[in-house]
């Protein structure tokens, strides 16, 4: 990493004399990217599989609380820091006053972590924590590795699971944790299938191998399941208990037995290595591209100075190149069109997908509502709807990210002749839209209590008595005769029944309205989120490629200028300039050679 930074510094130094701020900015950006790149590893799985133990084992410190009963309630992010620290991140309350609320960061003592991170200290996350960040001075984390311990509450296919799912595109690697007590279950494999579609590195970790003598059989079975499902993921078998014993006693043999070293190597070499490799390639590419552009114009000048008679030919060639560069910069360039068309298509597709998913849920929900009294089923109904909606939204988001990346590649293909991917990192943040949606709730309906029932019944009854009583008086009966009283009772009972029916219908309508409002809210927020994500991607890509086109154009112009100048120069001037040019070129060549050397060597 430091070698890369040095190479960038060297290149910056080399081009400082050419007054090319555009190229300098590009190198500075590459440098900044190198310095704060985080590699995010999500640790996911059903609950009680040993996720927190795994994170603890990886960093070799009890940072995530471990408990026999359900433990982790809040996602915990472990990353590098000079000294141990912990910070609570509190998210604003969607129902509260939106003004004056922003994300709150509270530093706490590391020992108090369990109070906030665990289900027993913070049941149902009543502290409303978005996540907890823990900083640790560990060599493993120093390379920018970031471990995220996710809560397993409710299992993989719950609202929590949906949140984990929508965080997938933002992760560089996913570790699916399951214990050696049993082979993979259907939800776990389904999760893996989705993870592998959006995340470059997916690995499976089989924990608690110390406890189950048959863990080898289970591992074999799991490998079989993975192979059958066509999932290409590595499987690691570890024992956190052994790892801790090993760390405590400094026993390297036990450490080997714990199965942690291969996992650590995987994280270091493949996950970090891959991210590192990517960083290396893009940085070297940046350095080469920048220096090449300068060298190109120097070379053009050199050949013009050397053979002034061929200068005109050169100028002609350069003019064509300039025209092409200008063409790329123009708004009408083909890549621009691909990008804007692609984003428009994507917008429509994603919107349609989301609406389609939600419409399905709404149909099903409305049917459920009309089958009975909503007041009775509401307790189960509301969580069911929220769950289904969360799943739909996260699936939509994951799909959107996937499509956006695909689009970026298409645009890059257009642009890049040498096929070296110049893509800016399109890392999207996990969608937070669902958290800001108001919960699904109905106003408490009218209570059809005894008093009201009596009153309604009496009203109906009174009418009945009066009606039939009056009729009776015509044939000489008294107002209160058995017939009129009977009719009164009948009508009274009927009006109570009617009233009850009316109330149920009303509740159904209320519930339906609430449901529609909720779905509408979700469509609005999630749709906005997806559109925002796309817009950011579009802007990133546009800026990125426009800058590239700009640089290319400017370099060609400089070459052209130099070539044109050389025609007018005198012999002595020409010789002096040639000497100058050759030293400059060899300097740039040295920088390039060094950068290329970085590509070969492996970390």
């Amino acid at each position: 990493m430091t070698a890369l930074v040095r190479a960038v510094d060297l290149a910056l130094d080399a081009i400082s004399g050419y007054r090319r701020p555009d190229l300098e900015t590009r190198l500075r950006q590459a440098r900044a990217r190198l310095l704060d790149e985080q590699v995010r590893v999500l640790v996911v799985g059903e609950f009680k599989q040993g996720k927190s133990m795994l994170v603890n084992g990886l960093v070799g410190a009890p940072v995530c609380p471990v408990f026999d009963d359900i433990a982790t309630a809040v996602p915990t992010v472990v990353r590098y820091a000079e000294s141990p620290s912990a910070t609570l991140i509190r998210v604003p309350d969607p129902d509260g006053d939106p003004t004056g609320q922003r994300i709150e960061r509270t530093p706490i003592a590391l020992e108090r972590l369990a109070e906030f991170a665990s289900e027993s200290g913070n049941p149902g996350n009543r502290e409303r924590l978005g996540q907890i960040e823990v900083g640790l001075p560990r060599a493993l984390l120093e390379g920018g590795l970031e471990l995220v311990d996710t809560p397993g509450v409710g299992g993989l296919n719950s609202v929590h699971g949906a949140a984990t799912m929508s965080a997938l595109p933002s992760a560089d690697a996913v570790l699916l944790v399951s214990d050696a007590a049993q082979e993979y279950t259907a939800p776990e494999l389904e999760f893996l299938r989705q993870a592998i579609a959006v995340c470059p590195n997916v690995a499976c970790v089989l924990t608690k191998t110390d406890l189950y003598p048959e863990w080898r059989t289970i591992a074999e079975l799991d490998r079989g399941h993975l192979a059958r499902a066509g999932i290409d993921a590595k499987l690691f078998t570890v024992s956190s208990t052994l790892r801790f014993e090993a760390l405590r006693g400094g026993d390297s043999e036990l450490n080997t037995e714990s199965g942690y070293p291969p996992l650590l190597t995987y994280l270091r070499r493949e996950v970090l290595g891959q991210a590192d490799d990517l960083a290396r390639r893009s940085t070297v590419h940046d350095v080469l591209a920048v220096t090449e552009q300068i060298a190109e114009s120097l070379r053009a000048e050199e050949s013009a100075q050397r053979n002034p008679e061929k200068a005109q030919e050169l100028i002609g060639r350069l003019t064509t190149a300039e025209q092409r560069a200008t063409g790329l910069k123009e708004r009408s360039a083909r890549w621009q069109q691909t990008l804007s068309d692609g984003v428009a298509d994507l917008n429509a597709d994603i919107d349609y997908d989301l609406r389609d998913r939600l419409r399905e849920i709404m149909h099903e929900a409305e049917e459920a509502l009309f089958r009975g009294d909503p007041a009775k089923i509401w307790d189960q109904f509301a969580p069911w709807v929220e769950q289904a909606v969360a799943n739909a939204a996260s699936a939509n988001y994951v799909w959107a990210t996937q499509r956006a990346r695909w689009l970026a590649n298409r645009v890059a293909e257009h642009f890049d002749e040498d096929r070296v991917h110049l893509l800016p990192s399109l890392r999207t943040e996990p969608s937070d839209a669902l958290r800001s949606v108001r919960a699904l709730s109905v106003r408490p309906g009218e209570n059809f209590g005894l008093g009201r029932r009596l009153l309604t019944g009496f009203k109906g009854g009174y009418m009945g008595v009066l009606m039939f009583g009056m009729l009776g008086t015509l044939i000489g009966l008294s107002l209160l005769n058995p017939i009129s009283v009977g009719a009164g009772v009948l009508l009274g009972g009927r009006s109570i029944g009617d009233e009850r029916k009316r109330l149920v219908t009303r509740r159904q309508n209320d519930a339906k309205t609430a449901l529609r409002r909720y779905i509408d809210d979700v469509t609005f927020r999630v749709g906005k989120d997806s559109r925002d994500m796309l817009r950011v991607v579009q802007r990133d890509l546009r800026d990125h490629f426009t800058a590239q086109a700009e640089q290319m154009k400017r370099s060609v112009q400089e070459s052209l200028q130099a070539a044109q100048n050389s025609v007018k120069a005198s012999k002595s001037e020409r010789d002096a300039r040639l000497a100058e040019l050759s030293t400059e070129l060899s300097r740039l060549d040295a920088v390039q050679r060094q950068a290329r050397g970085l590509l070969q060597e492996k970390p």
């Binding site: 359900i70 279950t185 608690k208 406890l211 189950y212 048959e214 014993e245 037995e257």
Partner: protein, 491 residues
Amino acid sequence: MTENLSDAVRKVLRLAVYTYRDQPRTVELLRRQLERLDEPLRVAIAGKVKAGKSTLLNALVGEAVAPTDAGECTRVVTWYRDGASPRITLYPKDGAPSPLPVVRRDGALTIDLGGTAAERVDRLVVDWPAQSLRGTTLIDTPGIASLSTDVARRTLRFLDPEDETPTEADAVLYLMRHLHVTDTEFLESFRDQGVARATAVNAVAVISRADEIGGGRVDAMLSARAIATRYRSEPALAGLCQNVVAVAGLLAHTGRTLRQAEFTALAALADAPRDELDAALLSADRFLAGDETRRALVHRFGLFGIRLATMLIRQGVRSPATLSTELVGRSGLADLQRVLHVQFAERRDLLKARSALLAMDRLLRAGGDDGRGLAAAVERILAGAHEFAELRLLGALRSGAVRLPQPLSTEAERLLGDSGAAPAVRLGLPAEAGPDDLRRTALSTLDRWRRHAENPMLSRRAADACRVLVRTCEGILSRSARPPSARRLAR
């Protein structure tokens, strides 16, 4: 009273057989129900894959009758019932049942389907001479959320069938390693929709593999019990099942079938220096690395079992019998057996009658007009039999549909027979209480509940509930009035 209920149900069933005499399929179905009334109670053991269903079944039987393996093992619904001699019968989906050979390997029964594909098998029936199967037929089911979806489907169809055949099991033990979403969904689906609407009265949740909690520490069972207690007080679960118990199935099974050779091996282990043993017991691999003969030991006890057994021997357990008792005692099997006895066995006739009536009800609904008179008869039993009223109320109380203020609610559940059907237990008296004590307490309880029933502050449903309890107290009184010897004769 219970006898009367069974008789009444029998009468209705016979009437139904007569009514539908021209429909052989229906008659066959009804006859099965009639036979079922005389058979032992059927308890199904259900749960997710690898929850330890077969292991627990073995522990309950006290013999290795259900095959167990590291991978997913049970693929067919298997019935274990009492029989004069060991016999396995395979019932295919279509075609005649065929016998399978009974093969025992290392004292464990191995079942070979003999070339029949698992999906073509309706069920296996294993007849086995065992004391513990005399009162209950145990049914082992394939795991839910299994990767082979077919296996899972077989279980769901068995426990919660959607066609007209009502569930075959009278009661369910639901095994879970920890509470999962699919678990609650499953329990919900099992809670019946039909007539008795007795929610949560025929299911008991079991935290199986309790010994593995906390990495198999020696105090794992304590932890497991604490978790069970927490689940018990969770309203979501209280509405779905009657009770939650923690059991270490493997430990219980091994404890019940402890062999002298195993005890000797364990004693030898316990003799070794403590540090050495602790280091060896750090992981299964380490333990096995020393000696391949230990594999059988790990297989039978699990790491937790070995840790516990060696600790017990070191603390002075000297004979296999004592060790066996200790292990079984610590495994929580006794808790489970007590719960089974109280919640299922004592209510055997009631649960069976309920299953039969449920079956009738579904039949009548599908049957159309001929069954009108029958439907009335079924309805009469359901409405008239106080046992059903009790069962319904218990379900309603547990699910929160009816709310009584505390401590009334606790007392009500006890009176309804939640912790045992014996009059003394219901009244909250010690078991050895004399008839006079019983009578006195019953009278005062009756009086109290009469007053509750009149309490204007209670909602109508609560007052109704109080009236059911008044009737329960009256029932206890009328039974305790009879001399005990006469009662025994009546049985």
